[in-house]
Amino acid sequence: MPIPEDERRQDERRQDERRQDERRKDEGLNEGRVDHDRIHAERIDDQSLTDRRISDQRINDQLIDDQLINDQLINDPPIDEKFEAHLKQFRPLAPQPLPVDSHIRAPRRWFVLVACAATAAAVVAVAGLAFHARPGRIAPPVESFAITDQLAKPQSLTIGTANALLARAPSFKDAIDGIAFPTKPAPLPADKHSALAELSKEKIKL
């Protein structure tokens, strides 16, 4: 038969009062032991004291739990341990992952990427400087250089060829002269025409 809610609450209140009276009696009896514990506790440092208190508290809580479970009162229904175990088989669903992952780790990833990019840029810059700073590249032996051959080749001027000329020329002036005054423009094959020449033939009416 179900017990009305009011009656249950009154019963709870009565039980609380009775247990509080008993606890007060126990505290009075154990007063001497509490003092001894306090003197002992003052000798150890704060952290270990806190840890010990937490540990003691947990043990004490567990003991109280066991006692409360065993100490069934008149109107309280018994605890069905089998049913309790059955309920524990239902595992609560795991929550969704915290959105903190991107929140916290994103700046770190950004920092790592920037650091990697900066390192790579520094390595490239140092390599470039070292490459250009080699004495052999600035002033190669004159005997091995044949600028006239380069300029005589029938090819148009590009950045690549200009760079090559700059690298191989004995001096900057020679390189510029070589670029500025090529011997001849590169002749086109007979079956091919220059795009500029073809475009110039067109008559555009405005």
Partner: protein, 179 residues
Amino acid sequence: MHPNRTDAAEIESLYRQHGAALLLFAAAITGEHSRAQDALHQVFLKLIEDGNLRHALDKKAYLFACVRNAVLNEAKVLNRHTPLDPDSARLTSTWFTPPDRDYAAEQNLRHALAILPEDQREVVVLHIWGELTFAQIADLLDISSNTAASRYRYALAKLRGTMLPAPNDKENPCANSRG
């Protein structure tokens, strides 16, 4: 104050460790899984953002208290503190991973929890799935340990009565719920 990496890592570890029980506890109060999830995220993000748990002696109990406060505050702000509706609890998403994939039993348990009085539902969830002692529950809910234990007994009896209505079915407590 911004927490250092150790604090954040510790809080994330606590989330992984107790998140499921905390989520269930929040869902048992709100009745809505999504609201419970929001409250849980809110608590942990706040902890990571500007707080740490060093001052909390009992971290687990403290987390349950935080989640409870977050849920109740949110309900107060939205003026949505209504009793849990058993029918809506049936319809909302699942709360548990049932043994043997018995989702009928899971729904049965959810319904049985929903029809419990709120104070008993909190205690039973905290003790069975939160694995808090009655002393911890007493501190959390601001009641005596005896009251917590008494509420637990009543809640368990009611759950049993709801989930196992057949009076002669004493041999196998799971028979009805698995059917």
